[in-house]
Symmetry: C2
């Protein structure tokens, strides 16, 4: 075997996701996002992503294209025990290697299956087939091993498609493999691709864009990105690969982004609104309850996605019927008759009733028209009221007019309610 490090691999990466279910089966390839992030940290840019079915000839074609433009090729999927799975065969045939059962791979698989009180069947035996000259990559959480080999100017790495297994193998062995094979330490010009993200809610994309105008000078080694979703507009600063950059520049730009976005900015990095709100509730030792009409439980669901949320989430009620609003929250039926169930008055009464009956520190409520039916000329689909009621006497109400389908309106409504809570929590914390 040739000594490692002799090659000059182009520091461009390509991912190849293999699986017919990714073509028409309603499943998207999320593995490549995880790979791109890990490679970015090493300073290797994923420039191309390919998706192909479980078809030997097509996999070969895609691999041949990849090797012409990328120095790091990471393939996921097609290593399973069924006859469909033909990534091993395709790689062997494209690179002109022989496939044979590799003893170390077979023994590791037998040991793993033994833990589960099983023995390898013929399909699983196929999973120990490894191209000649390739090195086995252990699978720390599943039975299918991966492998890697050198081909032309590229490192070709083949991993299982199960996200949990793929991710474990990237962390366990692929990162170290790339570091040593590509001699990343010696590549002075190589810098990690840093991506900082800032989450805003409440401003249209055009307004966020206007606020950030002129932030990045022409030819700066940093890209500014804007991405709108029902949860708000995400702003990103991404360093360009192979371009020298000082930490000060990124730090300065981040501070500039923060001050330009002001309190529209609700989180940075991987944080979500519910995590930010949850942390603030926990720190301030406060409890919360939610009264949901049009969101139907989504706010409760989101708050309780956060591990440890039982420390501050006390309860919630979903009051889809008017009777439920009266019975569970004490909203007077006359108030509903007078103003309608979707009104600032009813939202405020829901929040007050929720807080008073539960005894929590702060209660949130939402009432609105999620559509597609139920809208009128004066109260159209998308009209939503959120309200907050706190033990310190605070009572806030906000009106929104959202666009989008039922799912989008529910998402935006839940985000609006949580944002109201976030802003209130922020003031509380500042006032202490």
């Amino acid at each position: 075997m040739r000594r490692s490090g002799r090659h000059k691999y182009p520091l461009i990466a390509e991912t190849i996701a293999i699986g017919s279910e990714l073509l028409i089966g309603g499943r998207t390839d999320g593995n490549s996002l995880i790979i791109a992030e890990q490679l970015g940290r090493l300073g290797i840019e994923v420039r191309f992503k390919s998706i192909v079915g479980d078809d030997q000839a097509d996999i070969r074609a895609v691999l041949k294209t990849a090797v012409g433009r990328a120095g790091v090729i990471i393939m996921t999927g097609g290593l399973g025990p069924t006859v469909d799975d033909c990534t091993r065969e395709a790689i062997a045939s494209a690179t002109g290697k022989r496939l044979a059962v590799r003893k170390e791979a077979f023994e590791a698989m037998k040991a793993r299956l033994a833990e589960w009180s099983r023995t390898p069947n013929s399909g699983q035996r196929r999973q120990a087939l490894i191209p000649s000259g390739a090195t086995v990559l252990k699978n720390p959480v599943g039975s299918a091993p991966g492998f890697w080999l050198r081909w032309k100017r590229a490192l070709v790495i083949s991993l299982p498609g199960v996200p949990r297994e793929m991710e474990a193998m990237v962390n366990d062995s692929v990162v170290a493999l790339l570091r040593s094979e590509l001699q990343l330490a010696r590549q002075g010009q190589l810098r990690p691709i840093t991506r900082l993200v800032f989450h805003t809610f409440g401003l249209p994309e055009a307004d966020v864009d206007a606020k950030l105008k002129g932030l990045i000078k022409n030819h700066a080694p940093i890209d500014l990105g804007l991405l709108a979703s029902p949860m708000g507009v995400l702003v990103s600063l991404t360093t360009k690969p192979r371009r020298p950059i000082t930490g000060d520049l990124l730090q300065g730009l981040s501070n500039d982004v923060r001050s330009r976005l002001g309190d529209w900015l609700f989180a940075e990095g991987p944080d979500s609104m519910e995590e930010v709100v949850g942390r603030s509730l926990a720190t301030q030792n406060l409890t919360v309850a939610v009264a949901e009409s049009c969101t139907g439980g989504l706010i409760g669901h989101r708050l309780t996605q956060v591990p440890g949320s039982s420390a501050y989430v006390d309860r919630g009620v979903i009051c889809y019927s008017n009777r439920a609003k009266s019975e569970l929250l004490g909203v007077p039926s006359e108030l509903i008759e007078q103003h309608g169930a979707v009104s600032a008055e009813v939202a405020a009464a829901m929040a007050r009733g929720m807080r008073e009956r539960s005894g929590v520190s702060v209660a949130l409520s939402v009432t609105g028209i999620a559509g597609p039916g139920g809208g009128t000329a004066t109260k159209p689909v998308g009209l939503v009221y959120v309200a907050l009621n706190a033990e310190n006497g605070a009572s806030l109400t906000k009106e929104y007019r959202f666009h989008g389908d039922r799912t989008v309106i529910k998402q935006r409504s839940s985000q609006a309610a949580l944002d109201l809570l976030r802003r209130w929590l922020q003031k509380q914390a500042a006032g202490r």
Copy 2:
């Protein structure tokens, strides 16, 4: 311009999704799934999918590879008004065409913006740049037009990346364009790719696999697929393109799948559990209420995702604290002390309390340990009880031991509760 239909396009399609946010930005390409489904109906198979950043040279490279293997190339994204967006330039440069503002495209955009009381700015003006010889594709819902042209042996179609706009244009004009340009009517050998899906819940993938063993004979023109997710195992029958198939064969196989899966099968096609349950509640004129502990509102959220669900969803309570279980549902605190909040007894009491207090036809409840904390040796993370209580006296409880992280356990728990309701509703309907 050449007459259409002279060319013989290979009936293989490739999608190219353009956007740097698809490389590292945490966003996956869902557009290609919608395109693959529509093309499948026409009998055109999407065999390759590519994803590339907003980089002219890279887009050109990907397009050149695609034209070597596909006769239908559908590109999405990179048609926006910002300087990043360079799909127009890349296509023009790859195909050797000139870019110029196309009057009809500009006028249509002006008219659309006028509806929104705006006038085109310089960025939007760029959106009317169309390669010479290309035909404009109207955007019925947004401002960016698309276009198509012939290049070598391929039809190259460029659409905006916003899913709503992309989908509208595929339905409005791309399908008709493909029919006429590819003369699909004359292509006798061409058959729609039919994909039938069957949703199961409650059986491990290996057991579903065992039930379907021998269903598909070797060399049959139909692929059987299995796809596991927290919501259950999805079974698919997909016809192979370019292979003659009789409707009877697919019909017979579908019936066979149904009888083999029995009542583990909860839905077919695009239906979700909440739609199946909702339809059954509506048809039987029943109302439902939910009492959620570990799911935290997810069941309510899912039930109310269905348009028109206000007809049968009355209310829900999220009782994260023991006090909430007692106050909102009348669960005796002694019962909680004796058996623990996560127990069959408490689940049953929650469902009973929910139904009695709300007066609905049927109530569901869930209590469990979603983790990562809170587990013990006897009550580990993943232990979940679901219960149902109905006005006809039915009282059902079921224990589950799920694996996975907090999100997965919440998802599986919500699915288990809805499945309990589905099975009960099915019996009710049969007994009428």
